[in-house]
Symmetry: C2
Subunit: 147 residues, 2 copies
DNA sequence: AGTGCACTTGCAACCGTATTGCAACTGGGT
DNA sequence: ACCCAGTTGCAATACGGTTGCAAGTGCACT
């Protein structure tokens, strides 16, 4: 049962890190998730498998450093991590939507700025991240929920 | 010495807060500053005048809540505050560009999302804020400045 | 397959930012 | 001048994240 070629393990190894169970679990968890997860969420999930908080933190940072994960900060003072799809160097990131009520984060691959906006913003600088905030449909449409 | 009409005091009062020395000092300090200050920087300055850290924190948040200050987060997990110029209500509704290097916040009235993006995002929820992050031309083009 | 060393892990202590509880104080309307 | 809700100072606390260190383990090399 010497599982010779686990492609995910190889990916981790190729990036210069050891393919430990904790790292494997971290990476797989985030690849299964459809939205970025916080440190807390990840380490909570991994705690079931006996993985320590500190280890989860370190692995998230390590994996982010080698480009397998992306580390973002959506303005609520919590780091979030998401798996990078495709070639790390190709990855330029995509916009996120943060519900200010429930904290849910959605990834918006198709959201773009108008050409005119891009021209306008180029005068200011180079945009690296687009963040939309508001009330998600689950929180907003009832209009009764107030924090 | 019933200083009848200090315009700044009036401004604070009009927003529903009491015009205390601590708030006056906080607001004036940020209005004199040319760039956003962290709570640490503010409370350090105000400590000389016998104002407590916790009070500084509360006042910064209070003033931000009523729209006299703007509270931003550059990605380093530290809140920064800056005085809002002009009418507070003018401050809402248009996108902001935040330079993650120097902390400058620029208002981008003309930046908009494409129609398709709006359609896409409507499925998620109601967008109340658009924030662009990146490197402003002043910080980015030298490419030497690294924090 | 066995060995060894550097890389990882778990644990617990720690750090810094930010918040809160509470008693004392005070701005400002009366 | 008086009074009370709003505010302050102090200290304790919460929370996200980091670090030191000894034990454990991946994996490259026999």
């Amino acid at each position: 049962m010497t599982a010779a070629n686990d492609p995910v393990k190889d990916e981790i190894r190729r990036s210069g890190l050891r393919a430990t169970p904790a790292r494997l679990a971290t990476l797989l968890l985030l690849r299964e998730s459809t939205s970025p997860l916080t440190h807390a969420e990840v380490s909570q999930q991994l705690a079931d498998r006996g993985i320590d908080r500190a280890t989860a933190f370190r692995n998230l940072n390590d994996l982010a450093e080698v480009g397998l994960l992306r580390r973002t900060e959506l303005g609520d003072h919590v780091w979030r991590f998401e798996a990078v799809r495709g070639q790390p160097q190709d990855d330029t990131g995509h916009p996120h939507f943060l519900c200010v009520d429930c904290g849910t984060v959605s990834c918006l691959d198709d959201v773009k700025l108008t050409a005119g906006s891009l021209r306008q913003s180029a005068k200011i600088g180079e945009i690296t991240e687009i963040l939309l905030r508001g009330h998600c449909n689950g929180c907003g449409d009832t209009s009764a929920t107030r924090q």
